[in-house]
């Protein structure tokens, strides 16, 4: 599939993300980090 084929999907994701309330975006970011740490064993240094 050419890069143009992905464009509508990316646009849909961006539109859905923009429509989300800020609090839900925070939850989504939190869940994404937990998923990265839990599934991919990502190690975050401090």
């Amino acid at each position: 599939m050419s890069i143009d084929g992905w464009r509508p999907n990316v646009d849909t994701v961006v539109a859905r993300w923009s429509a989300l309330e800020r609090d839900w975006k925070s939850v989504f970011v939190g869940v994404a980090i937990v998923a990265l740490v839990g599934v991919l064993e990502l190690q975050i240094p401090w």
């Binding site: 609090d23 939850v27 869940v31 937990v34 740490v37 064993e41 190690q43 401090w46």
Partner: protein, 327 residues
Amino acid sequence: MSVRRLLPGVLALCLGAILARALALSVGVNHLLLAIALGFLVTNVVGIPDRLEPGIATHKLWLGAGIVLMGASISLESVLEVGGVVLLVVVGVTATTLLVVELLARNVFGLADRMGSLLAAGASICGVSAVVAVAGAIRAREEQIAYAAATVLLFDAITIVVYPIVGDLLNLSGVVFGTWAGVSMFSTGPVVAVGFAHSEVAGQWATMTKLARNALIGAVVLAYASYYARDGGGGRPSVRTLWDEFPKFVLGFLALAVVASAGVLSSAQLDSIENAYNWLFVLAFVGLGTEIRLGDLRNTGATPAVVVLFALLVSSALSLAVLLAVL
């Protein structure tokens, strides 16, 4: 909003966060307070370029995400142990602050009803977010919203400095200091910052207490909307308001607390999550610092500031006395 618009500001936040962390390690000052100071200095000395503003404005998103992740570090056992008492203190102090501001504003200082209500919501629940939420429900005027928001920001700036000093002078324990900050300071960001600047335990209790307080916003907006709707001056109140105004990241925080308590995550994973929220908080506090603009603070009216100062002194002293007696 496109990624290209947000990226410069988000990168500036990341840079500020790394700088704050590096400075904290070398000079031995708390990294969260340094992050706020850094943002404050940049915005008031050189100013924020327009192209950075959209990205820097995402700092509340990072604060919310950090709070969600903090759920993984919470000991449900200790929450259940003293949570009931803390919840009672939260409801008691919130109601007292709200009533004190309303009474002083209307009966002693003669402020307009709506102005008093905005100040009461900001002081008793969750700072500027509460001011904006209640303003929509009671159809407050633009300048009233600006005055009330500026007053809340003024006291956010003052309490960020004063609370840690008082906590050290009185040698308060982590639980007492955190709960005290959570129950009596105004906005969520400064509460989390001073809590973690004191200790990890204080930071967790400050955040949990503040979340419990924030969760009351729906009920307060509903009550104000109903009150002002009597004379046709407010929005149409509905039970849906309770859900609309409820801070949703509280649900993420609670869900993660349950997941972590079930033992699903290993200690290495929990460490990574803790590091992630520490970074998110530093990122958020650089942005929070950029919101403390001296020019805005000078716009605060003297009377609203005096009303809120009285209320803060009452709620702060009352809550500290109760917490020292019961915890």
